[in-house]
């Protein structure tokens, strides 16, 4: 059968021998793993062998959209890139919103697989059936906005072209490097930009003009109108419309689990300067949506600063304010926006960058790093100018910045202070301190790609219940992980989950693909994806010892704020989680579970 929503074609580009091929989208895999993140796991499992060096030509960049991408499904704009991560050395994926994913679909492809390695800088130009590998020597070294501009200019001054590119960070194999689309929308985490840099691939430019059809267009129309209506009235969606994701700052700081000064505390005393209404008043100049999203949580900002000059960007969003702001003890919008600009224009992840700088700041305060090491920078918590200066060094790989560009795990081991590095499997934590919301400890620790909050953002149900309880969190985390695997594989923005319950997702999936599905079957798809991801990491040699938490969260009680005194009793939680997942005590899926899921 031909499924609705999909185009039926995958584009494969080998940069070593410049071979471009088109192959059929495996429909059974779509039925089993849906798309985007799930389909990425399917291809990774088949094509990237355990122990593959992330920077070798054997690594691949597997871009996959979902069946709902570029249909009328609201917020259908996500696309996943799956790759072996140079940060975590594990299977990894990163999702990007904006317009790149839908444009890939409009060009006629459900996915794009990049393999091999070019011998000199190139970029890829995809316009429907026409696929060209073009020289990019003159683009090498250019910042993200300049690259975007030059490529569009070269391709007939067409502003409708969507460009995914890397900046100097990716070129210089900064392990935190992202792939950036539309100048400000990133495949942010895990270092996909460094993988792209290692392949000498500067950019992928796409423009498409193919039809995308859903199986049941009238049902999808009805559902889309209903979702627009729900979101217009939904308080959380409206808060995002007004303040962006920064709407969360106030609540999380009040609850005392906002990453502050390298997670030494969960309450930022200057946090009130960084809440949504302050941001709107001080720096926001406009709103920006991703494709087909009726919320428009993106915020354009501008500052005219004495210290940093004129800066205007899209963002920063919540995680960025948390990591570059509170976690570095910085409360100045000017400094945070300048810091975000450096990360965005050079192309590296603001979360990982913030975590790495805050680690260096703690080292500096403890005397482990000195002014001699920092090149004269007074790298104290709260020093916004120091934040900007050290990020510039990381961006250019100068001095201490060269080491910090390796990411917080490698840097902390070389500096000799691994206990101060807040990461799991090499990936820094997002801005929720797990001591104030215990399920997030499991989220971070059991995420296949290292500490990532969106694998199972359990804050909502946990705040509504007992957020400090350790025991009993496993079922909530399992349910959220399963649900997010579906959202990520359908390629919907996670903000759509405010309107799309499991029942609505089932309706949506049926209208898009034409497949018959019920709630239980959809959840089984989610669980199958989680188990396949787990199996990939087991083959890589990962086990219980890697599902760990930095000792700060298990040994140092939260010193102040509304989560004061809390530590995570982690081993109990992990035992419970493995049990509800049907995994053995070492975190390996049991045969019974795999058979049940058809793996």
């Amino acid at each position: 059968m031909v499924l609705g929503g999909i185009t039926g074609k995958i584009l494969r580009v080998n940069l070593t021998d410049k071979k471009v091929t088109v192959e059929a989208t495996p429909e059974e895999a779509i039925q089993s793993f849906m798309g985007a993140r799930g389909l990425g796991a399917y291809y990774f499992n088949k094509e990237i062998a355990p122990k593959t060096d992330p920077f070798s030509s054997d690594n691949k960049l597997i871009f996959m959209t979902g069946p709902a991408a570029a249909t009328l499904a609201p917020g259908n704009n996500k696309v996943a890139v799956t790759f072996k991560s140079p940060m975590s050395n594990t299977y990894s994926w990163s999702l990007c919103g904006g317009f790149f994913g839908p444009e890939l679909k409009f060009s006629g492809y459900d996915g794009l697989i990049i393999e091999g390695k070019a011998d000199s800088p190139v970029y890829l130009w995809i316009s429907d059936n026409k696929v060209e590998i073009k020289p990019a020597g003159r683009l090498w070294g250019k910042l993200i906005p300049e690259t975007d501009k030059l490529i569009k200019k070269e391709l007939r001054d067409d502003e409708t072209i969507k460009v995914a590119c890397i900046g100097p960070a990716g070129e210089k194999l900064n392990r935190m490097a992202c792939i950036t689309t539309d100048c400000y929308r990133e495949f942010g985490r895990g270092g996909p930009g460094a993988v792209m840099g290692s392949k000498n691939l500067k950019a992928i430019a796409i423009r498409g003009s193919q039809d995308i059809s859903a199986a049941k267009p009238e049902e999808l129309k009805k559902l889309a109108l209903e979702v627009y209506g729900i979101l217009k009235k939904h308080p959380k969606a409206q808060a995002r419309r007004t303040f962006g994701t920064v709407e969360m700052v106030e609540g999380i700081n009040k609850l005392g689990f906002w990453s502050t000064r390298n997670f030494t505390t969960g309450y930022f005393e200057e946090g009130n300067k960084l809440i949504g209404p302050e941001m709107k008043k001080e720096v926001v100049v406009g709103d920006a949506s991703c494709y087909a999203c009726p919320i428009a949580c993106g915020k354009n900002t501008a500052v005219n600063s004495k210290k940093f000059g004129k800066v205007s960007i899209e963002g920063p969003e919540y995680e960025t304010v948390g990591l570059l702001g509170a976690n570095c003890g910085v409360s100045s919008w000017e400094a945070i926006i300048k810091a975000t600009e450096i990360c965005d224009h050079y192309g590296f992840d603001t979360i990982s960058a913030g975590a790495t700088v805050s680690f260096a700041m703690e080292c500096f305060e403890k005397g482990i790093l000195t002014k001699e090491d920092t090149g004269g920078i007074d790298l104290k918590f709260g020093n916004g100018e120091a934040l900007v200066e050290i990020l510039e060094k990381i961006a250019r790989r100068e001095g201490l910045g060269d080491l910090l560009a390796e990411g917080v795990k490698i840097a902390s081991e070389k500096i000799g202070a691994p206990e101060l590095a807040m990461h799991i499997k090499g990936m820094p934590l997002a801005t929720y301190d797990p001591r104030g919301c215990k399920g997030m400890a499991l989220t971070y620790a059991t995420s296949p790609k290292g500490a990532h909050h969106m694998v199972s953002p359990t804050m909502g149900p946990e705040i509504a219940g007992d957020r400090f309880a350790d025991s009993g969190k496993a079922p909530i985390v399992k349910e959220t992980q399963t649900f997010m695997a579906i959202v990520d594989s359908m390629a919907l923005c996670s903000s759509m989950r405010f309107a799309l319950s499991l029942e609505k997702q089932v309706e949506l999936y049926k209208a898009v693909t034409g497949l018959e599905f019920d709630n239980a079957e959809l959840m089984r798809v989610g669980e199958r994806i989680l188990n396949l991801e787990r199996l990939i990491n087991v083959k890589e040699g990962l086990s219980r010892k890697d599902d760990c938490l930095p000792e700060r969260f298990t040994k140092e009680p939260m010193p102040e704020g509304a989560s004061k005194g809390q530590v995570v009793d982690f081993n109990i939680m992990l035992d419970e989680f493995y049990a509800v997942m049907g995994w053995n005590e070492d975190g390996v899926p049991l045969k019974k579970k795999l058979e049940e899921l058809g793996l």
Binding site: K149, D211, L225, Y228, S289, A292
Partner: protein, 159 residues
């Protein structure tokens, strides 16, 4: 003839392109940006999203420039209609349009211009921001006048 016109306001547009999706869907039963008669283009330098759509100019440069009279005006709505049997795909209408609102449909190689959905434009119905409106021509200017007045008033206050 209708006294309503289609008005796009880039100050309100956030660039979601939901209008494009529904325009294409309404006329072609598929989603395809190049089949949408309304397009939204994000200009990164100024962080602005600009919706481009036909304003049914009168006299219309496209209608005047058409060498074989393939464009006519719908009596009821004022929409500019392309006669696909006559259109030769010469692109003159694209080049003279002051709004960048005309395209060529690849399957037919004929011009594609907004037909106002027979007087009920779907883009207006679905725009979450109210950035595309179908309103009385005599009052369409008033929000723009009000904005200009506010800017002048604020400039005065600063002095």
């Amino acid at each position: 003839m209708s006294e309503k016109v289609l008005v796009c306001n880039s100050d309100k547009c956030v660039g979601c392109r939901i209008c494009e999706q529904w325009c294409s869907m309404e006329h072609f039963k598929v989603v395809n940006p190049v089949k949408a008669r309304i397009r939204v283009i994000r200009v990164h330098e100024t962080a602005k999203d600009v919706p481009l759509a036909c304003t049914q100019c009168d006299p219309a440069p496209c209608l005047k420039s058409c060498p074989i009279d393939a464009i006519s005006r719908d009596e009821a709505t004022g929409a500019l209609l392309v006669d696909n049997d006559k259109c030769i795909g010469c692109q003159k209408c694209i080049k003279v349009c002051p709004n960048g609102a005309v395209s060529i449909l690849k399957e037919t190689k004929k011009a594609l211009i907004c037909d106002l959905c027979k007087g009920e434009p779907v883009c207006v119905k679905v725009c979450p921001e109210g950035a595309v409106q179908y309103i009385d021509v005599s009052t369409m200017d008033l929000p723009f006048k009000s904005k200009a007045a506010k800017e002048i008033a604020l400039a005065g206050r600063d002095k």
